[in-house]
């Protein structure tokens, strides 16, 4: 039996050339920052897209300056056509879900901090790691290329429902070359994610330092680990689905195209496929993907909140158990996205049950977080505020999930803004709040400088109020029957709702503008922020046992030995009120 292998890449010292150091780097810390940079670029594009859509929804006749430059066909004179609205919506969803919510909390922070938190020098396969970033980057470039082809990006939504996505240009604008680029980009993205998932799992299992048993791993590490397992299985289904879609589009097969389909007055030369098959494959990936987006943020909040509550996280084992339960259940509920798809209504009931069951671990997690804060002497720093904000938006978004899990209610609400409000709160905003918390929390470690707290608090409060102004009214819009994916509201019953849309648009523009505070803080603190100590927040986990920023091999040649769990806050009788994981101090429990 051989010894377990470990990366020895650092034995030759850090690379010196610019390209090896900053572009094709094997260092997990650089790769983490690269992922973060890519997510930042993607979120800016995604947010601009949402602004364009919101402006058009509130004032459909307004020409948007410069939009005709992006697409003369899609926005003649700057006023977008209904089809171009759908193109922008597709790109907003795709970019945000794949390149922001999957990349930022998981790939970016996971890459940077998972090896450090377990006391490793690097990931198990640094070369794979570099490849997964550059694969993901390639996917992003291919996706963005869809903006510049003749009839623009696809109009089929981020879910690319067949037959719209499978047929080609007869089905509408953007469904020729744009949809090809979409499918190719997502297939490439799957490969990058699978490589990353393999690497994360092998690293977590094999590269833990002495004393870092599984039960002593920080909750963020646990969340990244569980997320990697979910990714490994979920992207393995999306990859063949995308390849079959590409075959349908280019090789004349008809996996997802039924017989006798007439589009643009032309009988399509396909027969025998099933449109529901695509939905089954897509959502078998798509629902776990939702947890790929949210679980890392849950883990990050579980990791950060006790630091500022100065109390151990309530129910540490239950927390980890709930994460695993959510990961497991995420594979049993995909059909709840398909209640109105024409699927057998009996199977809708079948999918409704596990969906309601999944609320149990989610609720336990939330209650444990609230219980952790209860009676705590909170230190209200910016990362702490974003953690509390996370709990708030996670609850707000989660509660509407109870309604949507029931087929009878979902039938009415599914195609409305109620669903838009639900998933933006529970998946998008919650996950992004986790990313904000992580950024403010770990920035000192990553760059050796503190971020500005005053700007951070302004950023939190304005964003927090902003997202509620944007998404809360959408619940009411949905219940009033306001359908989603419409580019303008001209029906009688919808005209009365336009003032609400105007309010949401103004809130969206303002909340987006507030993010400039964050961007400014990020750049300014990078160069001008006060120098950060090694452990500015008095945390216990291993990343606080090394310098800020960590040296090339993370611990400067030291081999860390772990004696404690990550949860030793508010310890009575200890030298401080906390005990580092590397401290061999005995903890006396009364």
């Amino acid at each position: 039996m051989h010894e377990t292998s470990e990366p020895a890449v650092h034995q030759h010292g850090p690379p010196t050339s610019f390209i090896r150091k900053h572009i094709f780097s094997l260092d997990h810390k650089v790769i983490g920052k690269q992922y973060y940079g890519l997510a930042l670029l993607a979120v800016v594009i995604g947010m601009i897209l949402s602004w364009l859509m919101r402006i058009h929804l509130a004032w459909p006749a307004w020409p948007i300056p410069g939009l005709d430059k992006l697409s003369a066909v899609g926005a003649p004179g700057g006023v977008m056509t209904p089809e171009y609205y759908l193109s922008l919506m597709t790109m907003h969803g795709t970019i945000m879900v794949f390149f922001v919510l999957t990349n930022a909390p998981f790939a970016a922070f996971g890459n940077y901090f998972l090896p450090i938190q377990i006391g490793a020098e690097d990931m198990a396969f640094p070369r794979f790691n570099m490849m997964s970033f550059w694969t993901t980057f390639t996917a992003f470039v291919v996706m963005c290329a869809a903006f510049f082809v003749t009839d623009g990006p696809p109009i089929s939504g981020w879910t690319a429902y067949a037959p719209l996505s499978a047929v080609g240009k007869d089905a509408g604008p953007g469904l020729a070359m744009g949809q090809n680029l979409w499918a190719i980009s997502i297939a490439i993205f799957c490969i990058g994610s699978l490589l990353g998932a393999l690497n994360f799992i092998a690293t977590t299992l094999d590269l833990r330092t002495k004393g870092m048993s599984l039960s002593r791993m920080p909750y963020s590490t646990w969340a990244w680990f569980v997320t990697a397992v979910i990714s490994l299985l979920a992207f393995a289904v999306l990859l063949p689905a995308c390849i079959l879609l590409i075959l349908d589009r280019t090789a004349g097969t008809s996996f997802f195209i039924p017989s006798g389909l007439v589009l643009s007055d032309r009988l399509q030369p396909h027969a025998g496929g099933s449109v529901l098959l695509w939905q089954h494959l897509f959502w078998f990936f798509g629902h776990p993907e939702v947890y790929i987006a949210i679980l890392p943020s849950i883990g990050i909040v579980c990791h950060i909140l006790p630091v500022f509550a100065r109390k151990p996280l309530l129910g540490p084992r239950a927390t980890i158990g709930c994460m695993i339960a959510i990961g497991f259940l995420s594979y049993m509920v995909w059909g709840h996205h398909m209640f109105v798809s024409g699927m057998n209504p009996f199977s809708a009931n079948l999918f409704s049950v596990p969906t309601l069951i999944i609320t149990i671990p989610a609720t336990i997690l939330t209650l444990l977080l609230i219980g952790t804060v209860y009676g705590a002497k909170m230190r209200f720093t910016t990362p702490a505020l974003f953690c509390l904000g996370f709990i708030s938006v996670f609850i707000s978004g989660g509660i509407s999930g109870f309604f949507l899990a029931q087929p009878s209610l979902d039938t009415y609400l599914h195609a409305t803004y109620f669903v838009v409000a639900h998933f933006h709160f529970v998946m998008a905003v919650a996950s992004i709040f986790g990313v904000f918390a992580a950024t403010y929390f770990w920035f000192p470690k990553m760059y050796g400088r503190m971020m500005n707290e005053t700007l951070g608090k302004w950023h939190f409060w304005l964003t927090f109020i902003g997202v509620y102004c944007i998404f809360m009214p959408m619940h009411y819009l949905g219940m009033a029957g306001n359908v989603r994916r419409y580019s303008a509201f001209v029906d009688d019953y919808l005209i009365a709702l336009i003032p609400v849309h105007k309010f949401i648009t103004i809130a969206a523009l303002a909340t987006g503008a507030v993010q400039l505070i964050f961007l400014f803080n990020l750049i300014w603190s990078r160069f001008r922020g006060p120098v950060a100590p090694d452990n500015p927040w008095e945390g216990t986990s291993l990343e606080w046992s090394t310098t800020s920023p960590p040296p090339f091999d993370n611990f400067g040649g030291r081999h860390m030995v772990v004696y404690q769990g990550p949860n030793e806050y508010g310890v009575e009788g200890a030298a401080n009120d906390y005990v580092m994981q590397t401290s061999s101090e005995k903890i006396v429990t009364s």
């Binding site: 330092t209 870092m212 299985l233 075959l247 494959l281």
Partner: protein, 213 residues
């Protein structure tokens, strides 16, 4: 520095004393191969699901494979692939025991049997092309989706076989020049057995259940 060199130098560096033992007590690379196999099994599972879904949803599904030559050919292919798993086992055992020359011979045998499988498979494909089968065409007048389902699922498997043959050749060359070690042979063996195992699902579902009566 290649991944393999890293593993070699890690073996010599003695870092393991400062690490938690791996829960499975195997090399990271071998663990990763197992993880890849799990992921790939899900991919094949999705494809088999697609095949079954389309079959169940198509009322006039046809069964074009006659016992001779299609099913016989498939049985020979199955026999060849199963035998190649046996020779792979020989290669792994010999490599573990340090009998390099024997291991290389077994690897050569595995490559030959794998190639024979691929040739038999391609010969069958070309035979079907001649009959008029295409991804979007069914010469028997049955559902056209049959061609798409058949060629995509067997194509995915054939792609795995061909990748496996290439991997075996690379590993054999690396092993003979001491660039790679017996662990690489074993890890590649895991993959090869998996490809074999998948065929045990593909063959009944795609061939036997579509045998002409």
């Amino acid at each position: 520095m290649s991944e393999s060199e890293m593993a070699l130098s890690a073996g010599q560096s003695g870092h393991a004393a400062f690490m938690e033992p791996s829960p499975y007590g195997i090399q990271s690379k071998k663990l990763t191969m197992w993880l890849f196999i799990i992921s790939d099994a899900v991919t094949f599972g999705a494809m088999l699901m697609v095949f079954s879904y389309l079959r169940a949803g198509t009322p006039n599904w046809n069964a074009p494979f006659h016992f001779s030559p299609s099913i016989i050919n498939g049985m020979v292919m199955t026999f060849v692939l199963l035998t190649s798993s046996l020779t792979m086992l020989g290669a792994v055992e010999a490599a573990k025991a340090g009998r390099k020359a024997a291991s290389l011979k077994w690897l050569g045998g595995t490559v030959l049997l794998g190639t024979l499988f691929a040739v038999l498979h391609l010969r069958e494909w070309f035979h079907m092309f001649d009959e008029g089968w295409r991804l979007f065409q069914n010469p028997t007048g049955g559902p056209v989706i049959f061609g798409a389902a058949f060629f995509s699922i067997t194509g995915l498997h054939l792609m795995h076989v061909i990748s496996g043959i290439i991997a075996l050749i690379v590993i054999a060359i690396g092993y003979s020049t001491d660039w790679l070690d017996s662990n690489h042979v074993e890890t590649t063996g895991l993959y090869w057995h998996f490809v074999d195992l998948v065929w045990m699902f593909v063959f009944p579902l795609v061939y036997l259940m579509n045998a002409a009566r």
